[in-house]
Symmetry: C2
Subunit: 303 residues, 2 copies
DNA sequence: TCCTTGCATTTTATATGCAAAGAGCAAGGC
DNA sequence: GCCTTGCTCTTTGCATATAAAATGCAAGGA
């Protein structure tokens, strides 16, 4: 009734630990392992039993020793190590962002449960989450209205993003030079330069760098609502990026240059330059999103 | 397994319709009633059957006629006309805002279900909602951390509120004079003057007026995230107001005056005055909230 | 033709059941 | 005295069950 993704993930985690051990060596204590994998000791004990059954470990009184090196086939496939809930979330967002349904479409929990092969419980737990994303709207005692990933959606999300980012930038420059965010920012600046120099082979690393830059700024605002909103943006962009790979290198290049102007202005504490660079960057990002949305609205459910 | 709050609410709604009818008169069609009460015809049919059983209506072929005037005792009590879900939401917010638990407290779904007398299903559906409010934070596979209604919470919520309100005010003054929001605003201005003149007896009407003013402004921003955030604020204030009745009249008076300055600036399209009046008003509101929060932190769970 | 009601089917709201995972205590070894 | 394991009890994740409510269609009447 309850999946065992935690067990499988921990099992794989323990296999990694085993690999660092010489045959015959003793396993760390249940406590140590459970802490390093952030799960309960109960789970670790179950995993240990599994590893013994697989002939990887042998018990001798209170201690467990490695009897054979684990092989790649011992591990559970990655797909089984994620909870149903997380899987549904991912699949739903992908489905939405790939444009399989249009604005105005009605979503019923029962149908979604069938489509994703789970129970309505899970679906009902997730729909409010997507409402928070601004993607759907509730009709009481009835279905959910899909509002669509439309140009309006992009503008609304970017209007808020701009307000939040500009506000956060002000908190950022209020911090002293030696503060951790400033140190991180200087590292990020260096990484930007390095990536720019090596754009042809490294452009795929950009999204991660992008996220770290903006999060570093946002964090200084020390505001849960701003952070929470950036979580939405971040998730949306993550899935959006997966199918909008066109011009990826060119876009990364432009964004890196704009970021550098922004970062320099931040480090100079030049408010006017910050506003200018930030607005310019968000403007570009907004039109990238708009472009990909409009592309999708034209050629529908193909993907 | 499913409550029948919809039935009871609709039953009461039909009783109201009956009261407008002369004895012997014919009821409207099932369709008409279901539309006016925003429920399905199925529910109306069930209600009709109930009204017949109660001797209020009699069927004659396809038509239903009023046989006796409904009495107050015919109606279901209001408490039974709200869904379990809505009840839990209200009770949970009240409980939180009354300060029965402090920041750092761990909330378990099982315990909350026991406390509120429902199943964990309902609780699990609501907890993410309160996370959206910024009140709680999830620990994976475990309990929820209550972050507390603290001064920090008030500041974070007001920082965002200020950004949104100022932004919305700019959209408001971009609209032409005859637009519906402007018309509504002029009505709201008149209501403010009327309430100020009659503050001693009418101050309890202020919260509703307050909400209408801010919503009128927010709506013009035409941004789902801004609206959504105002929903949070609105709900929070609604429940907060219920136990923070001290100085209510004085506070309403101050707010009305500040509102009027804000409204006048808006209607004059005077950007500087708008910013000044808006900031002043939100500053007052922020300190009112802070005051009530600090009061509560001092004298704990008593209420 | 457009509403009307009756009826059959689907979906929602909520509770319950159950395996997996977490929490905590007690007893023993270093 | 601290950390270990064993064990028990609680809580979580998810599926399923069921009454209430919604939806949709067919047939009849104005």
């Amino acid at each position: 009734m309850k999946g065992n993704a935690v067990y499988k993930r921990s099992y794989n985690g323990c296999l990694s630990i085993c690999e660092t051990l010489a045959p015959g060596a003793e396993m760390p204590s249940e406590n140590e392992i459970s802490q390093s994998l952030s799960v309960s000791r109960t789970t670790i004990r179950a995993v240990m039993a599994g590893l013994e059954a697989a002939g990887i470990l042998t018990r001798q009184g209170a201690s467990r020793r490695l009897t054979r090196r684990p092989e790649p086939t011992d591990a559970f496939p990655d797909t089984q190590t994620v909870s149903t809930s997380a899987t549904v979330e991912r699949r739903f967002l992908e489905w939405i962002l790939q444009g399989h349904i249009g604005p105005g479409h009605l979503l019923t929990a029962a149908e979604l449960a069938r489509q994703f092969g789970t129970s309505t419980t899970i679906i009902r737990e997730h729909l409010p989450h997507f409402q928070h994303f601004g993607l759907i709207e509730r009709r009481p005692n009835s279905a959910w209205l899909f509002k669509g990933v439309t140009p309006a959606f992009a503008h609304e999300i970017y209007d808020v993003r701009e307000m939040f980012e500009l506000r956060a930038a002000r908190s950022f420059i209020a911090l002293p030079d030696p503060s951790p965010p400033w140190q991180r920012m200087r590292t990020i600046e260096r990484e930007h330069r390095a990536l720019l120099a090596d754009i042809d082979t490294g452009y795929a690393l950009f999204p991660d760098l992008d996220e770290r830059l903006h999060r570093t700024v946002h964090e200084t605002a020390d505001n849960r609502f701003i952070k929470d909103f950036y979580d939405i943006i971040s998730m949306l962009f993550h899935y959006n990026a997966q199918w909008d790979a066109e011009d990826e290198k060119q876009r990364a290049f432009t964004a890196l240059s704009e970021h550098l102007a922004y970062i320099e202005a931040l480090l100079r504490r030049d408010l006017k330059a910050i506003d200018r660079a930030c607005r310019q960057h968000l403007k570009t990002a907004r039109s990238n999103l708009l472009r990909s949305i409009e592309l999708r609205l034209k050629k529908p459910p193909s993907l």
